[in-house]
Subunit: 302 residues, 2 copies
Amino acid sequence: MKCKRCGETAAVKLPSHHAGFCPECFERFFKKQVETAIRRHGMILPGEKVLVAVSGGKDSLALLRVLSDLGHDVAGLHVHLGIPDSSDPVCERTEAYCRENGFALHVLRMADVGLAIPEVKDAVRRPICSVCGKIKRHYFNRFAYENGYAALATGHNLDDEVARLFANVLRWDAAYLGGQGPMLPAEGRFVRKIKPLYRLTEFETAAYCFFKGIDHWKAACPYSGGASFTGHKRLFADLEDRSPGQKTAFYEAFLAKGKSHFAGVGEENGPVLTPCERCGYPSSSEVCGVCRIRALVERAGE
Amino acid sequence: MKCKRCGETAAVKLPSHHAGFCPECFERFFKKQVETAIRRHGMILPGEKVLVAVSGGKDSLALLRVLSDLGHDVAGLHVHLGIPDSSDPVCERTEAYCRENGFALHVLRMADVGLAIPEVKDAVRRPICSVCGKIKRHYFNRFAYENGYAALATGHNLDDEVARLFANVLRWDAAYLGGQGPMLPAEGRFVRKIKPLYRLTEFETAAYCFFKGIDHWKAACPYSGGASFTGHKRLFADLEDRSPGQKTAFYEAFLAKGKSHFAGVGEENGPVLTPCERCGYPSSSEVCGVCRIRALVERAGE
């Protein structure tokens, strides 16, 4: 197979784009997809500072790399979860990659704010993955807000977005359907949330990391049963096999023709948000979920 | 495994209902699902005559049987398509079943109205399955309307409905999403359309036919590549395997929480319907699709 653009030997085949690319032209393709995503959804305005949520996995490191290569003013934030035998090596590897490649990286240690995940896990009764996600979202947003970043970028790719959309469709959750998308505007103390990789598949970000020599962390979190939505992702992989391009078509059709039918449902039926009386961040109750988790951890430690 | 209801040996296992049933209790379960469908959606009012579209396959014969057993005033209509080596034996088998079981059955021969499907196939350039479907829908409705039936019942089962819903969701086709459902009210010369089997799976109607000794036609139409939406049905079979009950949950959640968001889209954006100047049935152009097909066949035969 030949590269669609330059005619050299192709190194990667993309049936959904009826194309194969050599490594160089693939990188060009990858960057163009990110540029298109940013332009179409007004994700980043000229001169804005962007904070990238960096777990150390392929998606977040690819995102840091491509946004930087496209000339955006980026810095990473890594949240150190305090999980034994996992958080230290992930953090070290991520710091090393950023140091070697000249990326600014901030690290927030959950142990320093009374929320080391092993202690949280012991103190709460709910599944740890959803609690950990809540904590991370809070601190990513808070760090961005308090340090003057206009947007928080996460590494969600097309497969993540399609699987989440399908999960929302299966339940016909109107509020979630109305709120899902690659760009969520800023509101009060919530900074703008953007997903610049939403037009690229998991395979494509993995190929990008491979070609760019990005040494990302590959092991799953020891507390999780693996990636989320694995079943839904396999289901859409089958669909994509049968008719290449279906994942993109489904998601783009949702943005163009589906989402608007659920507009405002979340705001109309959702809870009114007021500042948490402890941390000041928007909350649906007097004390926000994260401050309540911290109180549970403190009580368990007494 | 024991029957959930009577404790006898179960003959059929239904993971989505956390149940197994003996043949007798399964029939009871089957009837109750149909009763629930009819009651919830106001499908049939007391004393109304119902026309059942009878292809001769398992779903349509099961439907005729169960509606009759539930005490409804039903008659079948079989459309003889005129396809060599297929339509004659299907029609004969269907007539024999209805005669032996005391069901009124009407037969409409497409050859008699200038629309034998082999001639249609030669005269039109579009895929024959969609053209044939259009013709059948026209004549089922027309026969019901002209003979005083309040409703036309079709044998669509849960798998059919879920696959169609998924196809509409994949394209986010708002007009189709707004119009999909187990009951479409009457309007002008369109009689009410009902799908009393929509709460039962393909497996369940097959089991019902087996237990009731319904000798249905099993071969696919020689002109079609097999059942429609085969890929989507397999996909939802996988999903159902992983979490039993998902198909019902997806479809019922759509009816309860999704569909209303697309209400009226079809009417607002769809074409205005006026009577066809040849047959008088509602059409989006001066001459309706079926009359135009007939004209094409006539021209081809000249």
